[in-house]
Amino acid sequence: MCHAHYGASKAWVQEEQFAALIANIPPVAIRPWRWCGTRFFVGQGVFIWVADNPADDDKKWYSVRVGAQTEQPVQFLKQLVDDKWDWRAL
C-alpha cells in the first residue's frame, strides 16, 4: 500500500462507511494480522487495508487506506470521500 499512486485514507471510519467501501471488493482470504486485526480487500485493481481502531464508545471504528496503481479503479471513492479524509489522491 505504500506504493499506491492513487487512493485515500482515514484513521477513523465508521462501520456504515466502511461497509460502503468494501461493498464490491472481496476480502483476501488470509487470517487477520496480529497488529490491530489488519485485513485486506482486493479486487478490480483496488487494494484496501483496514485495521480496527476501537474508541471509548459503542461504535465500531476502522482505520482504512485504499490504494491503486492508476486512478481509474478508485474513482468510486469520489462519492465516499470528503475533505475530512487524511489523504486523497483521486
Partner: protein, 296 residues
Amino acid sequence: MTDPQLYKWYAADEAISLFGSSNDARRLCDGQWVILPKTAICLTEIGETTTHKPKHISYFRDGAEFCWIANRRYYVSNSPLAHFVPEEATAWRRHEYTIELFVRPPREGKYLYAGKLAPSYVMPYSSDGDCGMAAFRLEPTLPSSIWVQLGGIRLGDQNVAGLDQALARLRQQTTVHDRLAILQQLVQFWHGPIRPEDGLSDAEMTSPPIPLPLRWWYRFAGKRSEIMSGQNILFAPRDFETRRMLQIVNDRLLFYVENKASISGRRCNMVTTRRFSAASKGEAAGRRKASRCPST
C-alpha cells in the same frame, strides 16, 4: 496573457510569459522558481517516484502531491529552517501568490504544465543531510498516463482479472509454494517484471539459517529493496547497499523493523514454530484504546 493548457509542453520563457513579463521575474534556486508579482512558477526536473531515500530530484509522491527537492543548498528566504524555498510558495504568503507547476524529465528541453500547487506547509530540512524538501498539494490530480509519459512511474502488469483470480485461490487449500506463487503475481502487478538479476545469488546469501519464505524472497527479489521497504525496513541477508542485516537476537531472527523501531519482526523459536511475533512494546501498544496510529 493566456491561460496555460494542462499537460501541454512549453519552453521556459514561453511558460513565464503566460503569467507576466520576463523583465519582472525574479529567478531563484537556479531558475527552478520564477517569482512574478502575483505568481510563483516552479520549473523543475522530476525523477522517478520511489520509496528510496535520500532523494536528489523532485518527484510526485502520489497523483495529488508534488515534492520539490532542493538539489543543493539555497538561501532564498528569511524563514527559519525553510530558507531553501521561496516564501512566495509557502503558507506564509498563501494569499498573495498562485503557484504554477511545470515539470520535465531530466535532459528534456520543454516543460509540461502539470497544474496548480497549494502553498507548502511541509518543508523538512536537516542541516547535515539533505538540502530541503517542500511538499505541495497538486490540483488537478496528475493522470497516470501523463505521469508515465514524464518517466515518474513505471506501471507493473495491469492484468487486474489475473490478479483477482490468483488471490481467489487463497480461498482453497494451498501450500506455501502456492502462496509464494500468488505473492509473486501480486508483486509483479505492482512493480512489473522481476528480473533474475533482481534476486540474490547463493553466493550472496551468506546469512544465518532462515525460513523458506524469507529465503525465497531474497532469491526472488532481494535486490529490489524498495518493494518490501516502504516506511518499514526489511533487512538484507548480508551487508548489501549498506542496508541493515539479518541478525540473531536472543535466539530469534530479526528480519524487519517498523519505521520508528517500536515494532520489529522476529521469528519465534527458529526451529519449531512458523509464527512471527511482534516485540513486546508493540503488543502493548496494540492493546491500548484509541491511542495509536495503525497506519504502518
